[in-house]
């Protein structure tokens, strides 16, 4: 059985460190994703988009806005043909290929909103999680298949 272990972060939410790879635009960086069965797609949050050096003008914009728990429509863009590299042991990795990953671009109206937006994490959505059984231990989240 394949097992991927992650940690428990803020609010005991489960997160998984993933090495993200994409060829256009070129990305090869680790990102922390929170597992979220309420997110239909795997999503890169605004702050991680900046950290990865993404330029929204070079990305394909989605025609459909996304709506989250804040009930606001949010502009979003696509990364195509993305590889998510999971560590499964010290020297072995498992790769999930996703045709699209969503990149969020919130448009905060003031500093306070921007500070909140910048706290939002990237999300590992149902497009990946549906392939696994997800369980929690006291210190870990475990994806199994």
């Amino acid at each position: 059985m394949l097992r991927i272990y992650g940690g428990r972060g803020r609010g005991k939410l489960g997160y998984i460190n993933i090495y993200l790879m994409c060829s256009n635009p070129e990305i090869h960086d680790p990102v922390r994703f929170y597992a979220d069965t309420g997110a239909s797609r795997t999503t890169i949050a605004d702050r991680d988009a900046i950290r990865l050096g993404l330029n929204y003008q070079e990305l394909e914009e989605s025609e459909r806005p996304v709506v989250g728990i804040g009930c606001k429509k949010v502009k979003n863009y696509f990364l195509r043909d993305v590889l998510l590299v999971f560590r499964i042991s010290r020297n072995s990795y498992y790769i999930e290929k996703l045709p699209t990953v969503t990149v969020l671009k919130n448009e905060p109206h003031n500093e306070e909103e921007r500070r909140l937006v910048d706290q939002l994490p990237s999300l590992l959505g149902v497009d990946v999680l549906e392939k696994y059984t997800v369980r929690f231990t006291a210190k870990h989240i475990v994806l199994e298949k």
């Binding site: 803020r10 790879m21 590299v85 560590r87 990795y93 994490p121």
Partner: protein, 83 residues
């Protein structure tokens, strides 16, 4: 399927270590950096700022590569996330 090259494996390992350090030291970090973003690398806070974007820009100016750095918010309050 491509595999990570050596440089990427090292970067991934450093990121994981930095994340673990951040999680393990979160309560201590709150004493000094509450309400700020911190950049963690090699078991220490290398930079901090109230503005995440300013912090990332300063890190880019200072360091050649920031892929292994963990950049996280240290909350004053124990906020709950409902995603």
């Amino acid at each position: 399927m491509p595999v990570l090259v050596s440089k990427q494996k090292k970067e991934f390992s450093r990121f994981e270590k930095n994340m673990k350090w951040f999680q393990n030291n979160y309560e201590k970090l709150r004493e000094f950096y509450a309400g700020e973003y911190v950049a963690v690398n090699d078991g220490k806070v290398v930079m901090h700022n109230k503005d995440a974007r300013a912090l990332i820009n300063s890190l880019r100016d200072e360091y050649e590569a920031i892929g292994a750095f963990v950049i996280e918010f240290v909350s004053k309050e124990k906020l709950e996330l409902i995603l």
